[in-house]
């Protein structure tokens, strides 16, 4: 018993416990925020976090609040993100449909070189408004962990649907079209 209570075994035990606590803390910190999905599963819509960022073209700032009263498809993307290339043409088509019915796609370019992002926009002929989140602040508030991710915001500024990964026609028809009909 005396041997177990000796200073060296106690010190080793303390170090091991500290390492285990550090590991647990690290794992807990990396756990993605899934409160949006949990609210949607309960049939509730959480208010979308405030979002105000510089416009990608450098012409001032834009915010989600600018589109209050409209259906917004908020799309987080980057020019280096391969799946973003797949969904962008479809998002542009939907932006055309949405603008006629009180809605818009709003792109947020994340952690990207502006010139690369502008080349991407030109390549796909994207016309919807774009913001730039240079240091990824908005990622945390929306719980974004993968790219692309898309949030459908209703006219009251609440999150009506979320897609972690590229969107497709089925998602847009199921989640965006009904909101446009009600707008």
């Amino acid at each position: 018993m005396r041997r177990v209570l000796a200073p060296i075994p106690i010190a080793v035990l303390c170090v091991v416990l500290a390492l285990v606590a550090l590991l647990a803390y690290g794992l807990a910190q990396n756990e993605p925020d899934r409160t949006v999905e949990e609210a949607l599963q309960r049939g509730e819509r959480d208010a979308a976090p405030a979002l105000e960022l510089p416009k990608l073209d450098g012409g001032g700032t834009g915010s989600l609040a600018d589109y209050r009263g409209k259906v917004v498809v908020l799309n987080f993307w980057a020019s280096w993100c391969e799946p973003c290339r797949e969904e962008s043409p479809m998002l542009e088509r939907w932006h055309g449909r949405m603008t006629k019915r009180g809605g818009t796609v709003l792109g947020v370019d994340i952690l990207d070189v502006t010139a690369d992002a502008q080349d991407f926009i030109e390549e796909f002929g994207l016309t919807y408004p774009m913001l730039k989140d240079k240091d990824g602040d908005a990622l945390e508030s929306f719980g974004v962990v993968a790219y692309p991710e898309t949030f459908v915001i209703d006219p009251e500024g609440r999150i009506a649907a979320v897609r972690r990964g590229p969107v497709d026609e089925a998602f847009m028809n199921a989640e965006v079209a009904p909101l446009l009909e009600g707008a």
């Binding site: 391969e82 690369d116 240091d135």
Partner: protein, 156 residues
């Protein structure tokens, strides 16, 4: 005619020397030198450790373009901050604000190393002292005489 030939020769010599002079005036910045001083923002690791991440590849291409444009190391870091924010800088103090955190980030590990070394030294000194005293060192004189008496009782 001779003057024209001399002028043409001087012009050709200038053109031949110009790229070399330009290269000499260019800061000797390399991608390898920068990679361990900036972060890959998506990976959360220094860029040097992010080998295959697409964002890291784009960041390297951007940095290489700036190197090719003769930008200095500091200018490239400033350009990266403009693109990705100040968290792209990996080294404490690079942000230029010289706050307490920049000092603590060096001081705390140094203190931890000193404390750990002190702890190890203390443990070694105690361990060697215990060995030097031997296994019977902790037996008191009274206990020793009692043991001797008991041993004599059982002495064959």
């Amino acid at each position: 005619m001779r003057r024209a030939a001399a002028l043409a020769g001087a012009l050709l010599a200038t053109l031949a020397v110009a790229p070399a002079a330009l290269a000499q005036s260019c800061p000797q910045t390399t991608l390898a030198d920068l990679e361990d001083e900036v972060m890959c923002p998506v990976c959360g690791t220094p860029l040097a450790l992010a080998t295959e991440a697409p964002q890291a590849e784009r960041q390297r291409e951007y940095m290489q373009r700036l190197i090719d444009d003769c930008r200095s190391k500091d200018e490239i870091k400033q350009a990266l901050v403009a693109q990705f924010g100040s968290e792209v800088l990996a080294l404490p103090g690079d942000e230029g604000d010289d706050d307490l955190g920049d000092v603590l980030v060096y001081l705390i590990p140094a203190l931890a190393i000193v404390l750990a070394a002190g702890g190890i030294a203390f443990a070694v000194v105690r361990w060697r002292g215990a060995r030097a005293r031997g296994p019977h060192a902790s037996v008191s004189a009274a206990d020793g005489s009692r043991v001797d008496t008991d041993m004599e009782r059982y002495d064959l």
